[in-house]
Homo-oligomer: 348 residues x 4
């Protein structure tokens, strides 16, 4: 069962802020545009508690991508500050800007020197070598972070990306699970920029093979195929090594959409828990779920991941960018029709 | 496109040998039976060349299982000797027997001290605490190894296992891919012992939810849910770190069958290439595929894995074991009917 | 500061049991002898509480060795049952015997299917292909486990091993550290079977280069150079990912003795905490040290490791084995003299 | 035996370029100074061949640090472009600048989107929150890269760093080894910013404990203790998984200097080979050393690492920075005297 908003923000405390940069049309002039890019920031415990560390883990299913800060998450078991997503060539400016923001918000903090910043390639629609993301754009995404609905599709770091030969971008979904007598929420946010048309599977149905038209208009061969970033949040109390298991399970959700993680795909996942341990001097107190109790979360992770990916497609409108390269929106009516053809309008 | 036999033995050189132990009926008497277990041995380059190392890598998607020898495969980049699969409580006897066999076949060899032996739990049908696998059973599987068709279902190490609440066991499949002008074969063998009924998806269709009867008869709660072992073989010339990428992709095949890798699942994968480097004194000569050329293999791996799992179900007959515990065969006619209901008899 | 016994058993709860097999002299007859081998068992919480899981982690510095059960320790974050050490070709029999022992001691347990068994090669002194370790030898080591002093040198799994061209074997040491107002003990047990003579460094002094005589008498070239197994125990309350950090630090202790981890070395380490979390239904309660508080343990680990290795040498007597192969004891008087020459009798 | 220059540039092809930023004195004014920082760039095959990929691997001994690009090195087995070292808060600007430089030098390249940039913390001497490294400083380091002697001590990325309570910085060393009939060079460059005074060991001698004066003058408690970055280069032809083994061995060199890798230490290592495979369409041809042949390189790695660290101390002069914080140079005369006291002036 999805949460109230079917969004990562269903996990209490999680806040998301996005900066969407859209400027110019037509021919690419490096440094001028057109610009189709942005920044997505996810705070585990909200921006007011952005100096509290959240238990976390990372997993690289296919490492043709960047996620700064990953070594320290792996080593320490904690995420310090937000997770921020942007385009491949803007990871640096975003990373340094998160440090600067952190130093201002939390003077003297030790938690903002190794920020987590991930990326996907948007160079088919965006003037990626123009380096259009500026530190103010990062501050803006961070400062705007809030709970509530997350705009999906061509928003934030997902502004200029595509998946399965359709326009895609930011997508989110959530699941509510019951473990013992307790209810927990697991939410996923993806920046989906991967896979070819004929890979696309929706609810088990080979949608990509059924829609052979509406192919992207690309005036120059793509340099990189793309990637998928997956952020998993939960309020279930988990230890870092358990969160690594959760992060791994996101790969199963990618598989359900037909993705096969090609060589050029940067498939990097991060999972965090909002149930931070209680500090007690040099000690921390944790109340965590046993390994035996994790199965509902293992099942929810691919479900929410699959749906977040599909949502990124469903939410996106057709977009043209540099050199009038164009990715079309997944047509809703035809999707519905194809699901019907395969008797999947009511999905089991 | 599958290979000629749709089997791991389509990869030239690969040989498989199995010992199937079936004895007794009815009430469990530990040390007496009933016995439903066995041994499966896979030689990358055939048993005559079983002292030649094959480039290899392992990947643990969920490590609730054993694969001895994995540390040395990871460190050295090579598989020495065969991969052998059995039940959880017989890994030890099998491991030591492989050493003994190797020392006899290849006196003075340095390649048989750290054998690769994996396991799944068959304690629902088999007297697993009776330790019925003996070293002679291992020798027998090794000595019988041959090319050609591989008996599937309740055979070898898969004799007593089940998946999706049906009888399962050993399954295999293969794919032929073209890279450049060259044709390569990738074959998969699984020992499938995982997942619950309602997980089962075939060709995107929720078959498990459609067949709610034919549930297993178990007179005592299962102690462990089970696992899936996946062995990927290819004649494509690959480096060890590339084979690790291949091994990882097997997880996507599990996902396509609906598996979600529960806490109790030991999902351990190994991939090897039969294109061993040419020795040249203290040097080795390799001709390998570039990373950019790997995508057809990345796509073939989940395809062959998915099909090998389904084949393990389709091949298995209904089996009763200890205490008359029974797992039913997946009914072929109903599978066909359900695929038809979802318009998937001709799969895209 | 070392603990009371300068032993892994200084960590409250830890119990060690050893079976030492010494039989025959002279010419090697495979299957007959001479026999110089054994089994060492370490219970984190004592053999009476051997069904309680201890938080744990493994680290492979150089994986030319076997440690069964490692994948499940890594995945679950727990050590189930004892850590057992033996020779390379007896890992299997030991592993299956631990399962059998566990099933008898704790009927119906789910904690004994994936035992942790490590090995080093003792084939220069022992008839390793004679497979002389029997399951009764394993039961004996397990049943004898106790606190108190641990016999070092040619004992247990270390009976037939050597290091730095001297006889070595089992060694142990401990350190007591203060963190906050609390005192914790960290103990190390090694099975030391590695490195060449000229590597040996004691207290920073090149002892190996100073003692060029007393070289081993080996009538056939060694087949494998050897390995070092390191078991780190502590009563400091740590999470699994923190124990992985501890395990890694053991490598620094190896370096201080001059070891360089050659290709043929299986350098596998496991660290566990005796501070198991309190079970609470589907939850567990942990009180753990913060990452910032770990430095005294990071410093103690290489110290205790270094000393345990040196202790394995100092305790061992000269031993002859198969074919009258002989490894000499490190001569105490010359060690003392050399330390004096380098002004290190009072070590800083 | 060291190479001709005892430097990483003894490895044929390797080029190093540094930008050293030193400006202002006295009180810290964030954004103004004082500035004590810089950039160090290492090209495996020289800057003219900076678009050819070099086989490579990374290893994190203690991940309290950043090395961007690490996931792709791990996945692909190659280093694309240079390795660049700087301060913690400038990783972002450096990373994006490397991309920009690569796009200009090699238009349309696919090799410059995931640059490798590492860092250590220099905030005790440098206005690290002033973000003084600009992209032009990066271009300058890249453009100046050359073979020949590498300025050590307070240079490049090591300008503002310290180790063992002394001024340290950039250090380098090399070893020439013979394998078969062939001679290979292995070179190490470190950016050393770690450990406390009493850790310091030189040639086995407890130098740090012997020099208790000349303690750093710090007017505010350090925020982070520091880190050590290690870059290992060799012309030995190695596969990526073999280079990972080399990278791991660098940890043994750290241990020999007395370092214990504290919680706040970012100990990230990268190893690459200049023997890139020969491209052949979709294939690559490699001639590599067997695993059995690697021991001389395993021994050389800790040797060169140890010496590079000591060289970073020996080369550095006393430096004052922000708020007149001061780190003193290791006094050469006293070092010599102490080595004599322990009879280590002629080191064995």
């Amino acid at each position: 069962m999805p949460g109230k908003l079917n969004s990562i923000t269903d996990v209490p405390g999680v806040e998301v802020g996005q900066t969407t940069l859209v400027e110019g049309e037509g021919k690419l002039i490096v440094g001028v545009g057109p610009v189709r890019t942005g920044v997505t920031a996810i705070f585990p415990l909200g921006k007011e508690r952005a100096n509290t560390r959240a238990p976390a883990a990372v997993f690289s299913f296919n490492g043709n991508g960047e996620m700064t800060g990953a070594e320290w998450v792996e080593e320490s078991g904690f995420l310090e500050g937000p997770v921020v997503l942007t385009n491949t060539h803007s990871v640096g400016v975003v990373r340094d800007a998160v440090i600067e923001w952190g130093q201002k918000r939390f003077p003297g903090t030790e938690n903002y020197s190794l920020p987590v910043v991930g990326e996907t390639w948007d160079g088919e629609l965006n003037d990626i070598n123009g380096f259009h993301v500026k530190k103010e754009d990062v501050f803006s995404a961070l400062d705007q972070a809030a709970g509530g609905p997350v705009p999906e599709g061509s928003t934030g770091g997902g502004t200029g990306v595509r998946a399965f030969g359709f326009k895609a971008g930011t997508g989110t979904a959530s699941r509510v699970v019951t473990i013992g007598q307790q209810t927990y929420t697991l939410g996923v946010l993806v920046q989906a920029n991967f896979a070819r048309r004929d890979n696309l599977v929706v609810a088990g149905v080979p949608v990509g093979k059924e829609i052979s038209d509406l192919q992207p208009v690309i005036h120059k061969e793509s340099e990189k195929e793309g990637s998928i970033l997956i952020v998993v949040a939960t309020d279930a109390p988990l230890l870092p090594h358990q969160l690594k298991r959760i992060a791994k399970h996101a790969a199963l959700g990618v598989a359900r959409t037909g993705g096969v993680s090609t060589n050029s795909s940067g498939d990097l996942f991060i999972a965090f828990s909002t149930a931070a341990p209680a500090p007690a001097g040099i000690r921390e107190q944790w109340t965590t779920l046993t390994n035996d109790a994790l199965d509902p979360l293992f099942a929810a992770t691919p479900q929410a991941t699959e749906e977040a990916i599909i949502n990124s497609l469903v939410a996106a409108k057709t977009v043209s960018g540099i050199n009038n390269n164009t990715f079309y929106a997944l047509p809703h009516d035809r999707l519905r029709e194809i699901l019907g053809k395969y008797n999947r309008l009511q999905r089991n």
